[in-house]
Every structure is written in C-alpha cells, then in structure tokens.
Symmetry: C2
Subunit: 368 residues, 2 copies
Amino acid sequence: MNVPASAPSATTGRRRLLTGDRPTGPLHLGHLVGTLHNRVQMQENHDCWLIVADLHSLTTRSRREQIGELPELVREVVVDLLSVGIDPQRSTIYLQSGVPAVYDLAILLQMLIPASRLRGIPTIQDMARNAGITDDEVPLGLLGYPVLQAADILMARAEVVPVGGDNEAHVAIAREIAEHFNALYGPVFPIPQAMVSSTPTLPGVDIITDGSRRKMSKSAGNSIRLKDTPEEVARKVATLQGPGAGKSTPEALERSPLFAFVDAFVTDRGVASALKYDYLRGTIDDGRVHEAIIADLEGLLRPIRQRRAELTADPGRIEEIVVDGTIRAREVAYQTLGRVRDAMGLEGLWNGLVEATQKRAEARRRPY
Amino acid sequence: MNVPASAPSATTGRRRLLTGDRPTGPLHLGHLVGTLHNRVQMQENHDCWLIVADLHSLTTRSRREQIGELPELVREVVVDLLSVGIDPQRSTIYLQSGVPAVYDLAILLQMLIPASRLRGIPTIQDMARNAGITDDEVPLGLLGYPVLQAADILMARAEVVPVGGDNEAHVAIAREIAEHFNALYGPVFPIPQAMVSSTPTLPGVDIITDGSRRKMSKSAGNSIRLKDTPEEVARKVATLQGPGAGKSTPEALERSPLFAFVDAFVTDRGVASALKYDYLRGTIDDGRVHEAIIADLEGLLRPIRQRRAELTADPGRIEEIVVDGTIRAREVAYQTLGRVRDAMGLEGLWNGLVEATQKRAEARRRPY
C-alpha cells in the first residue's frame, strides 16, 4: 500500500467518517459554525474522510468555463479546510473525480434504487431551482446525485456521515442502497449513520439581501468568508441590524441576525447576556454590539488567517495533500469495488474467462 | 498497444460499427435473419465491435442467481456469434463489464441528458413491463440504460450502429448526447448513425404460444435456437401452421407464420413461389411446406453446428477471444475517456495537482 505510516488505517479502530464540500466557492462563517468546527473535533476520535466533490458540482455546473474554475476552487476549499485545523496526517482530503472506482460503483448501485424514490427528494428540486433548471430539464446526473453520494460514502466504507438537516435524506438513500445491496449479495457495506448537526444555521450579513433573514450561503453572496481581511469582516459585520436598541423584546432580539452573531461568536456567555440586557435597556446600540462581535470573531479568525498564510507560502503543499489523500482513497475504493464485484459475481465472471484463457496458453506451451 | 497485428485499427480506414447482445439466452433464427447475417456481411468492410452487454442485463436481472448464470450465458452468446461466421480476427467481441472506462463515461454523460427525455422512451417501459417491474419501481439504472448504451457507442467512437426499429430511439439518445458534449466541450465524438435493418421480424414457432403471431424471442420461449439439434428444429418447424391448403387467399398466406419461414429460409425464389402456388391450389399441405423449410434450414444450420462443435472442442478458445477483445476495447476506451476528461477540463485539474506536487518534491531534492 502506497500510504504513509502516519495515515489513518483500519487498525486504528477509529470509526470512519465521510463528509465534504462541493468546490463552488470559498467557505464562510456559516460553514465554520455549522460543520468545520465539528470536523476538527471529530478528527480526534474518527478516521475523517473529506471529499472535495467536484463531480457533484458538475450536476449543476457542467459548462467548460465553470469546470475551468475548478483548479482554483478546489485549491481554495482545501486551504479553507486546513486553515481551520483539519490535520492531513489524521484526515484524508481527496478529489472525487480522482477516484474512478466511485463511478463504477455508482453505475452498479443505480440498479438498486427506483428513480421515483429519487424524484421525491426535496434537495434535488432545490438544487435544480437554485441552478435555474426547470423540472423537465433536470439532468439524469442530478437525479442520480444522491446515488453518486451513496457511492462516495459506501466506497469509503464510512460508518458516520455528519449532515445538515437537509442532507439527511441523502444519507437515508445511502442506507437503503447499502441494505438492499447487502440483502441481495451478502454483507459488504457497513450501514452508514447520519450524524445530524444541532447547530443553528447562521444568518447572512445584510449586504445584497432584501433585509429578510436568509441563511448565510455561498450563492446568496451574503457571507463572511474565512479568507476575508479584518477590514472586510468589520465592514460586513457592521451591516448586521439589531431589532432596535431600547425598543425591542427579548423574542425579537433572539430572532435578529445581529444577536444570532452574538450567540455564535461572543464566546463568554456572561458578556453575551450583558450585551443583550444592555441592548434591551437601550444603554448600548448596534455599533457597540458590532464591536463586541468583531473582537471575538477576530480572535477566532486570526489563527485561521495565520495558517492560511503559512500554507499558501509553501508552494505545492496544498496540491500534495490532495494528491496523497486521493491516492489513499483510491486504494480503499478499489478494495471496496473488488468486494462489490466479487459479491455480485462480476469478478468471478471475468476471472473465469481469464483462467480459461491462461489454461489454454499453458496448454500451448506444453512440449508434449 | 497490446493488440495483435491482425486486430482492427484506425489505420484500416474501415468505419467502426458497434452492436451487441444482452447475454440473456441462446441466440435463435430471429437473430440470424434479423442481425447476425447482416453482421457477418458488415465485417467485410467495417471495423465491427460486438459488445456482450452484461451490465445492461443487470438493469432487469440483478439478483445474485441471475448474475450467477452469466458465465454460461456469456459463453453461449459468443459461441453463437462465432458459429454464424463472426471472425474474431476482424471483429472485436468484448465483455461490457470488463471495460470500466465505460462506467466513468456514463456517469459524465448522465449530466448531459434530461431525465424527462429518458422517461418518454417506449423501450424502457417495455423492458420494465417484460421484467415485471411497475412504473414506480423502475430503477435509476434502467432509466439510465440508454445513457449506458450511449457510453458504449461513444466510448468505442463508433460511427455506425445497426438497430432493429425499436432501438432507434436509443441511438437518437447517443446522438443527442454526443452533439451536446461536442457543443459544450469541443469535437470529441463522431456522431453515430443508426443503420435501421429492413428485415421483417420472424414469427415465433407455435410451441407454447396461444397461436397468435408473435415475434420470435428468447423470453417468449417460441424460438428455434442456433444450437438446436436437427430433431429439435424439425419438431419445432412442424408446429408452424399455414392458412389452410386449398382454402386460403394469397394475403392470408403471406401473413401466416408458415410462409414467413418460407420467405426467410427457402433460398430459391422459384421454389418458394411454387410452394405458395401449390399450397393455394391445395396440391400440397402444411407437411410438404415443413419439409421444404427444414431442408433449406438444415443447409443453413449444418455449417453453423459444425463450427460450434469445433469451437467447443477447443478449451479456452471462446474465453481467449473475449479476453483479447476486451483488452482491445479497454485500450480504446481509456483513450476516449482521456480525450473526454481532457476536453471537459477534468484531466487538467488532476494534472495540475500532480505537477505542483512533483515540483514540490523536486524542490525538496535540490541540495542548495
């Protein structure tokens, strides 16, 4: 095996966890509080696999110029992951399109799930809508997105899949396919479990939105990115509006984007409560709350920026991590695919042909 | 290239043709007059690729015991092909599941065709019905069948695809996908042309049918198989009923299964006309027509049986042909996949990562 000694392995006894990102833009604070902190923690006692899902991004971004952005987007997401504390010695970061066995597995698994089951999944409909695709135009590849995701999960033999609430349906598909496969062909796959995050979603900053409370997201353009400068962070935080100092209720305060940021980033709970109380009384205004958020946010972002600067100053480091991780993923993928083909009988079919051919070749060589 | 000197190659200037069979049972006279004779002729001036489509058979036959029948079914279909005169030195016979690049290509091509376009294809609905699958149970893999078929055709860079009328819709899908791909990413694929066979379909022999004129087919159990013994052939032909000697019209005669066999197998047109005329007059009965059919049919089947006997007496010969053909197909498939990934930008993405990694490794080795 072409795997460094420090790489995760089955012998460590840590449960394998798979999660990842479509490389569609820089990660932001919503990812940090939603999943990245969790991933950094999980790598203490899990064998974490982080997929950079470039094939998944093809389901809605398949034009040549969109694919042309992938090298930069892939690099960016990996820098983001490493900058928040993902340790490539303990976690495997890999490029989905660099593991062809996943395609093979996906085609085989497509036989095991009804198309009607996939049409009913709301996330597929959402993805189509966000990409401006009408119902009639939904490509087969987008309908098959959850099956490709199942192939990623099952290929890695992952047991744990952390998900935001809206992705739980995809893990359910992976479970159904794994159970169906095991029942048909024998126990090959561990049944993956969804680990649903309880983190509330972070609202977007009010930069180009219509003022309604929208989830922070890459596509909505309302995010504070991990790579933003202190000035950008301060400017964006300053756009967050509170419910009105001295003329609000606790309920309105708790619902406001401003105090969602207080809850997410003001680390001292006592300080957070004091901010809320003083704001209700009207002794502080939005500006004072912005300052408090920025101070703690910078405490969080400063070491992330520091690691980012170190990584990007080290040419080839990012690429090396992805290539090594992908090679590691390939090993496991081919092992899994071998077991799958073996269980189905496809491996036996091919081996039988090869053996008969070899016997024939040997018979030819026999002198008498 | 791991290809024997006698193998078909791009340098021969022959147009590449792709066709094939799902290994679901022995081939029969319907195949012989419908496609096999045509294939044998076409190999004179085409680079014929004959796919043994075991993955396609998984779309409706995915249970373990069904896959367990594949080694025998694959062997059987290849013996059938060779026995009718397919020449493995000129034509490439290969096993679909032995060419993994096809899976890769299929996953990429699935992004380029709307699922709604596939749902409307009648053959998909027919295949589901024949396999006892309800609309709601149609697996994603069956819906994707035409895309997998397109991947077979485009992977081989085939220009000509002979089809029965009902498969023309699948070649249309392959054309649409190829045109869409070329428009998006540049001219990679030749646009395949369907070559629609004008051969009338052969009726089944009336053995277990209800007497209605049904197409001869593997699944209907009403076929005369290429491997049937002379006794089996005679017994089956004897079940063919004419429209009634001496009490029929030319129209009824032409519509009857008995005289469909006369048209298909009585080689001398004068003899065939005499049989029809005498039958109309009532001077010969069904039995006499059976004898004439059997005589000419045996003239056709005798050399086929002879080749079959030679082939099966030569252990490993069949398997060697499939293995060699599959390796030849792999070479072309990987070349095509490389061009596809290159045109899409996926190859550049991976190569960029690897190059940066290598530069880093070189920098490490530099002494000062």
